[in-house]
């Protein structure tokens, strides 16, 4: 029997006529980093909000750290730490004051609190900034303060909603390292959402790909990628090619046109498929302009499952306003 920290069953959330979650189910095992990967508006934040007791689901069930999020929200709250997508620090307080306030709200004793603040600030390497006003910190530093704050009361489960959104590459790597360390050394269960596939690949033990309120696939990054076959060959032709001819290739798994002259061929082994492709093209007198191959990424998995790019930002007006707000706050 696998020990689950989070159990989600058929979770539905409607906002008026808009259905944000169409009955999702997944489990997070104790001690793993589980990723919800999907584009903006897929329902990732809604899921986090329900699991962290901020909003109630329309129907379905969610058990977090052994407690039902609707029936026993306070028991859930005691066991979890949350870093939301938008900054939720008090910008007009110092780093230390923010952590202090958090500890007091979570009823930590003064002695324990002082000790924990020091430990957590050391963990995120921000001890030297303890007395700075939060609004004077960079985006990456604010994120680190939020991580320190979320861990202050020793939670069993940490929720991270887009933990590196809008951060520079150096800050991103730093935060990735903290997240890995939390799993490896502190044995904390982590549920994170992201629309960066590198992040999901780098960090997550298991991933659920979520799109338009539904989970379309679930598994380890490797198993998800292997569903596509091992490798992908991209070809750009001089003229529009007759795609039928490639069906005769050995080990071909799928052929997908990307545009008129571009095609993607999914094969078991690209190194072996390439000579065959050249031969076929030669035989039928088709000219190749460019050819390349690569191992599939989670983005390819996403495209395969949904027909769309993971990275394309289907920004609504509201998202746009949020981004402006984020920039102002970060």
């Amino acid at each position: 029997m696998i020990d689950h920290s989070i159990i989600v069953e058929n979770l539905v959330k409607k906002f008026g006529n808009i259905v944000a979650l169409r009955g999702i189910s997944f489990n997070v095992r104790r001690g793993e980093i589980f990723g919800l990967l999907g584009p903006n508006g897929a329902g990732k934040s809604t899921t986090i909000h329900i699991l962290t007791t901020v909003i109630k689901p329309t129907s379905g069930k969610a058990i977090v750290a052994g407690f039902d999020v609707v029936k026993n929200p306070d028991d859930v709250r005691k066991k979890i730490g949350v870093v939301f997508q938008d900054i939720t620090l008090d910008l007009n307080l110092t780093v230390y004051e923010n952590l202090w306030l958090h500890g007091k709200i979570y009823n930590m004793s003064t002695i324990e609190l002082k000790k924990r603040i020091n430990e957590m600030l050391e963990l995120v390497e921000l001890k030297h900034c303890a007395n700075r006003l939060v609004k004077s910190l960079s985006g990456g530093m604010k994120r680190r303060v939020e991580i320190a704050r979320a861990l202050l009361h020793n939670p069993e489960i940490l929720f991270l909603d887009e933990p590196t959104l809008g951060l520079d590459p150096a800050s991103r790597v730093k935060i990735w390292n903290y997240i890995k360390m939390l799993r490896d050394e502190y044995k904390i269960t982590i549920l994170l959402t992201t629309h960066y596939m590198e992040e999901a690949e780098q960090l997550c033990d298991r991933i659920a790909i979520i799109d338009r309120g539904e989970i379309v696939a679930e598994g380890t990054p490797e198993s998800l990628k292997s569903t596509l076959g091992r490798e992908v060959v991209y070809i750009k032709f001089v003229d529009i090619p007759p795609l039928g001819i490639f069906k005769n290739l050995k080990d071909v798994k799928d052929i997908k046109p990307i545009s008129d002259r571009k095609v993607k061929i999914i094969v078991e082994n690209a190194s072996k498929a390439l000579p065959e492709i050249f031969e076929l093209c030669h035989k039928y007198g088709i000219q190749i302009e460019e050819i390349s191959y690569k191992k599939p990424t989670l983005n390819d998995v996403f495209i395969y499952l949904t027909g769309r790019e993971l990275r394309e930002e289907e920004g609504t007006f509201f998202d746009h306003i949020r981004m402006i707000h984020r920039r102002r706050v970060l």
Binding site: R77, D90, L93, K104
Partner: protein, 260 residues
């Protein structure tokens, strides 16, 4: 015992945060303290010199300025506590509200903490005006100032409660601002702050008697200048009922509060 201690610890932490925030925004802190001083000096001096020719002393048994000081104290308490309620909207917009919503703390403690913090900052302003009023009139019964501050706290709770309720309902800074002039101004003028109850037309008097500010002003006048129209007993009762009602409504609304 432990749970009471825990609750108090949460309440005081939240209250302290409200107070810190108030003083961190220096320009705002200075202006909110200067505002009532300006009211008292400009309005009070202007009116009291205008009314000097009128038989005010015979009617009220005191100068208009002494009459006005307790009223301005109540006005300040109510208005600035009310305005502090807007911080709920800021917290929602800048995300801090979520931090509170995921905490295992009781919503009542959070709301009570906020109100206490907001009232404390207003209390600082009210004390300044009381001291200034004492200097300007040379007349206030200063022995009763501590007791007067207790009534200030009550009307402050009513103000902060009402402000928080409106902030929780409207959720937008612009709407809140628009409502302020529709609520605060009539409440201040439909009261006994500027004129005695005795000479009001009946319909005006009825409205005035529905306004909690009237009772705190009456209590302060009784204590500070020995001028009574209603009486401390009724004043205390009405104010306590209003304060409890406001805190209860706030708590109910805050329990329902979510994000997005």
């Amino acid at each position: 015992m432990k749970s009471i201690y825990n609750s108090l610890s949460i309440i005081s932490a939240i209250a302290l945060r409200q107070i810190k925030r108030f003083f961190r925004a220096r320009a705002r802190a200075i202006s909110t303290i200067l505002m009532p001083i300006m009211w008292l000096v400009l309005f009070g001096v202007g009116f009291s010199t205008t009314f000097r020719t009128l038989p005010f002393r015979q009617i009220l048994g005191t100068s208009y300025l002494s009459f006005l000081v307790p009223g301005i104290v109540c006005m300040t308490m109510f208005t600035s506590s009310f305005m502090a309620g807007v911080s709920v909207i800021w917290d929602r917009q800048f995300g801090f509200l979520k931090e509170v919503l995921v905490a295992p703390a009781s919503r009542t403690c959070i709301i009570v903490g906020r109100i206490i913090g907001d009232v404390s900052t207003a209390l600082i302003q009210a004390s300044i005006i009381m001291i200034l009023g004492l200097v300007m009139t040379g007349y206030l019964n200063y022995v009763n100032i501590p007791l007067a501050l207790l009534y200030c706290i009550l009307i402050g709770i009513v103000g902060a409660g009402l402000g928080t309720i409106i902030a929780l309902v409207v959720n937008s800074f612009e709407t809140f601002q628009a409502l302020v002039s529709f609520i605060v101004l009539p409440l201040n003028f439909l009261s006994n702050i500027f004129y005695p109850l005795k000479y009001m037309p009946t319909w005006f008097k009825i409205l005035t008697l529905l306004n909690p500010i009237t009772y705190s002003t009456d209590a302060l006048r009784t204590l500070l200048i020995n001028y009574t129209s209603i009486g401390l007993g009724v004043d205390s009762l009405v104010l306590i009922i209003f304060a409890i009602a406001m805190i209860s409504i706030c708590t109910i609304l805050f329990r329902r509060t979510t994000v997005e």
